[in-house]
Symmetry: C2
Subunit: 347 residues, 2 copies
């Protein structure tokens, strides 16, 4: 059974500020004040105005206000996924800082699909976002042109490339992973493998793989013989990839994972295969999400300052929106959390 | 150092469909076709039109299109938090199903704050969302009135109350938790405690606590003496609350946690206190997020069909938006995942 709803409000009856003023029996200036500086209006008047706002379904009108001022106090973010903790902590800090400055955050998630990200960027621009946070650099350059033409500033996060002129806050995924790999090689590992996210269209994944290869070459390891399995970011696919990579000859004594989610999958698969970590095989991650330190054994990984990145990204983007300036890009430092999942190879 | 950006595009120069048509040297109908049914346009023309779209920064105009048709193919969701996995899986499935039907999802997160949720609901309505997904029933009733007045349908998820006339898809948090509690009492536990989220403003938390009390009364346990600690949803606060609750006399032999995140914190605190789970104390969760089965020991919890809920919520909301009907509310079944963290009390 379905009940009928009342028919659509026709276009002409979308309520205006004047309608609210009329219903509440106040001036339009008073309605504005109620919405923008409620502290300056006595409570009885404010209640009457807010009742009228609710009864009429009035909202500060995006057709008039947004187009005129191009200022909606809404910031958009397009992240690759909400379904695991990779971006959660940074985005939460981003939102908290935006909130402190009176901005509302709307988030879209692209499932790591380039075409979907493009659609979401256009949607957020069309919905009047004052500025956008985007993850990584890899996308159709026409999108940055599109945003410039609409005067919607965009800030890249989770990546940093010294020679890009797109403003960014992030870190060098390549250098961070190379630092971790150097530590693994110092422990004596020569037979290694890597479980990576799909490197096509994901510059962070590509750079992390490049970091392992860089450190391997420094250690005079033949990187062309290193098994690399590209998969999607999930515990399940980490498990599958780990089983596959352990069938390689010579069998890896250390497996790099492109992020902690894959590494948790690898740990789980190792347990099911009856392998001890790190005695039989070392496993490393990237990100230092909460589960990394809770895992058994706890995971050696690259710690990313997610909350700092989110907080500072908000400040940068607010400046871009309100002061119309282009900030210097910011490179953050990562560091290595050495935990039990990394040890020397069996001799 | 900051570089100056070009001045704001003045209102009058926001590009129109006609501007795109002129620049691409095609009819406005062709531009429409490129945007709405690109398959029907030959590639050369399509490329020329899309170049013009990008150069001008054109986006299907919300002032004209959205207000006229009240149809933006954008759905909004306001969830209490992005910073842990509680809502991630359901929202991901919600988005995937919306995407299959050509809708884009924008998500706002309210940090469990009622005033922030209200602001975000108004923002999403103002940004032209066709419909909204909201979590639970607890909010200012004026908001539902506001949305009705604007003809923006809203669907409640993650909760189900048989006597509410607001459309919903969810489950009975009270019955689900009562089922789990009955199992705990069957194991012989009499001295219990509960770590809950703040029950003020969170109907799911309140109902889960009510479920434990219901089953306790059935088992003739004095519920007034049961220690209940209300805290925020995080591993850290779960740890703190567990330490506190284990100081209670008589010491609980089983601790119910309002969700898996709190339970993971409790497990971690138990380990630090040198307590064996379940030999010294049993611990239970709620949600069955991924970490529940990975924990050591694995967590006994209530399994919520998150993906099914998200997928079906999308179908219901699309019907509400496109067919203007009000659906029957849907009650989903939860079930108990009995894992190692629950055992009989020490005798």
């Amino acid at each position: 059974m379905t009940r009928e709803r009342s028919p659509l409000t026709p276009e002409s009856s979308v309520p205006t500020l004047a309608d609210v003023a009329r219903r509440a029996n106040v001036s339009t200036a008073t309605v504005s004040r109620c919405l923008n500086s409620p502290d300056q209006v006595i409570e009885r008047t404010r209640n009457r105005v807010m009742d009228a706002v609710n009864e009429l379904g009035y909202a500060p009108n995006f057709s008039a206000r947004a187009l005129a001022a191009r200022h909606t106090n809404t910031i958009g973010a397009v992240i690759p996924t909400m379904d695991n903790a990779i971006f959660a902590r940074g985005i939460q800090a981003f939102q908290e800082e935006l909130g402190r400055h009176g901005f509302t955050l709307l988030v879209a998630s692209s499932s790591y699909k380039e075409a979907l990200e493009e659609e979401q960027i256009r949607t957020l621009a069309a919905r009047g976002a004052d500025g956008l946070l985007l993850i990584g650099y890899h996308r159709n350059p026409a999108l940055h042109e599109f945003l410039r033409a609409r005067s919607v500033p965009a800030l890249v996060a989770w990546a940093y490339e010294v020679d890009s002129d797109i403003p960014a806050i992030g870190f060098s995924n390549r250098n961070a992973m190379a630092d971790l790999a150097r530590l693994v090689f110092e422990k004596g590992h020569r037979d290694i493998g890597m479980i990576s996210a799909d490197t096509k269209g994901n510059d962070r994944a590509r750079d992390r793989l490049a970091g392992v290869r860089l450190a391997a070459r420094e250690a005079a390891i033949d990187v062309d013989r290193m098994p690399v399995i590209e998969t999607t970011y999930s515990i399940e696919s980490g498990m599958q990839a780990f089983r596959q990579i352990m069938g390689w000859t010579p069998r890896p004594t250390a497996v790099f994972c492109g992020n902690d989610v894959l590494a948790i999958g690898a740990l789980k698969a190792a347990k099911e295969m009856g392998l001890s970590v790190p005695e039989d095989v070392s496993i490393t991650g990237f990100d230092d999400i909460e589960i990394a330190s809770l895992a058994e054994p706890a995971l050696t990984t690259v710690h990313v300052p997610h909350r700092e990145m989110g907080r500072r990204a908000a400040g940068m983007l607010i400046d871009m929106v309100t002061k119309r300036t282009v900030p210097e890009s910011v490179e953050l430092q990562t560091d290595i959390r050495l935990r039990r999942s990394l040890g020397p190879p069996k001799t």
